[in-house]
Amino acid sequence: MRIFVFLTRRMIFAALLMLGVSAAIFFLVNSIGNPIELMMAETPGMTGEVIDRMKAYYGLDHPPMTRYLLWLSRIAQLDFGTSIVYNQPVGSLIVTWGWQTLKIQLPAILIALAIAILFGVTAARRQHSRSDFAVMATALLGQSLPAFFLGILLIFIFSYSLDWLPSYGAYSTRNPLWGSPTLDALWHMVLPVAMLTFFNTATLTLLMRSNMVDVLKSDFIAAMRASGIPERRVIYVHALRAAFIPMLTYLGLLIGLMLGTAPVTESVFTWPGLGYLYISAIHQLDYPVIMGASAVIAFMLICTTLLTDVIYVLIDPRISLE
């Protein structure tokens, strides 16, 4: 019962949060001026009449407050409007381009998690050993290496110098690799996924290691060892479960920020994902896309934050429901 009340409360807060964030983004963007007028400001030969008709066509001829309410009610029906640059529904643009983003981000998080558990646990078990130092040093280096600079390095080495991998795009425009579009798509994913994996792994490993070090010192681990439970089971079942709990926050953030960090990644690799769509929309002042994409980016973060909180309560009985 208490858990039900807790869940309802968090859901309501998440909904309010979404409302607040969308309002903040909406009014910030709109305070620049009417999007159509801004877009057309540098186009010669644009008469007031044409601009008025364009405003009416895109439904941008009302005062901002009315437009915000209209926009909200349309979003509630999953209608994000029409892109001015692409002349396509923003919803389908977000799905098409967003899929490309997920295609490189999700594998990168999963691979990173597996590597982080492996290296983090190994380092924590042999604390202060040479392998611990090597893991720590690599992770600290990886944490400090800016993701986009790593991407530039990877392109410089593997595309320009060695000419092994493609430097941009999600697929070849002609002559796919070995005549197979699937292989060709995977081929293009290698560098972006490698960059994101390296970036995710660094922090996850450091967190895993420090949590594990703490857990391994706790009494219940000593008790388990004393009662003769096999070491491997102690480490990989019981200690890992305890050490994993504090990592959920970061993992949730990583998943929630997938779309938010995409602009940089996708600018490096000219990857046709949501981030690339977003940046070009800002450059071209494609107002409906800016609004739709930023709402989706915020929605993603809010959902994962909510999910993280709920998971915490479900798995850790020490956390009270207030």
Partner: protein, 315 residues
Amino acid sequence: MSDQTITAHPPSSAKPARRPVKGIWRQGWQRFARSRTGMLGLILVLLVVATAVVGPFVAPFDPQDQSPMIDPGAKAPPSWVHPLGTDRMGYDVASRVIYGAPTALAVGLGAMSIASLIGVLVGGFAGYRGGTTDEVLMRFTDFFLVIPMFVVILAVIRLLGVAVVNTPFESVPYLNLGVIILLIGVFSWAPIARMTRAEFLRLKNQEFVEAARCIGATSGDILFRHILPNALPSLVVIVALGIGGAVLAEAMIGFLGFGDPAAVSWGQLLYFNYEALKVAPWASLSPGVAIFITVLGFNLLADGLTDAFNPRAKR
């Protein structure tokens, strides 16, 4: 941060039976000096600071000097006159990288001062008071956690470009950079607040706090002499990491082409030269390495600070 650490552990009150303690600074420094990563971090940070301070006097070229365009030409490889070559637009890469250091430090320190001030206040208050205060403040923090930072910063930079024309603000030097610093600060305090709150929640029900309460310590005493010092180790680390993070954020904004055109920033150098990566790699790789060194320096420094002020976290 460190000031609070000093007031937090008055040597006299800790263990009166012992010989006078050396003081938290000397103790911390001694532990810090033993940390190899911390010392390397300090050296790197000092290198960046020295570059920022001395650099402008020793840089061979003015950052706005495009005269190399004529002599060795644009995209010229490294030579004696141009140790890091010249870039797409005929600038001397070494000079531009040197002039990027003060910009990076201003961004890192400025943004994190703003962020830690807001973060510690909000998080500490929420964690200690609990109840409705906690609920409201944390929802407020959530709000700042979920606003996509880049969206807002890019939008505001755009807004300024339009709104500033024909106003007195137009002549304010480095207006864009100032706004970027402010915004990075305003959008980076949420993790600090969450960490502060978590630490305060963890600590406020522990025995030593209850003991302090039992002997009649005031709220202020409990907060600033018992809870905050124990929360500081995690906070110092997250702030030092945050400085690196802020430098990185500004580099990314610059890399996306939304930096301050008047300021020389490493991210912007990358933005200008990335498309010539194949022909003139030195022009892209040099500012990238500079960003890496700075971020690495602060991260390693944070690691050393963990060793110095929070030995129990790692030992």
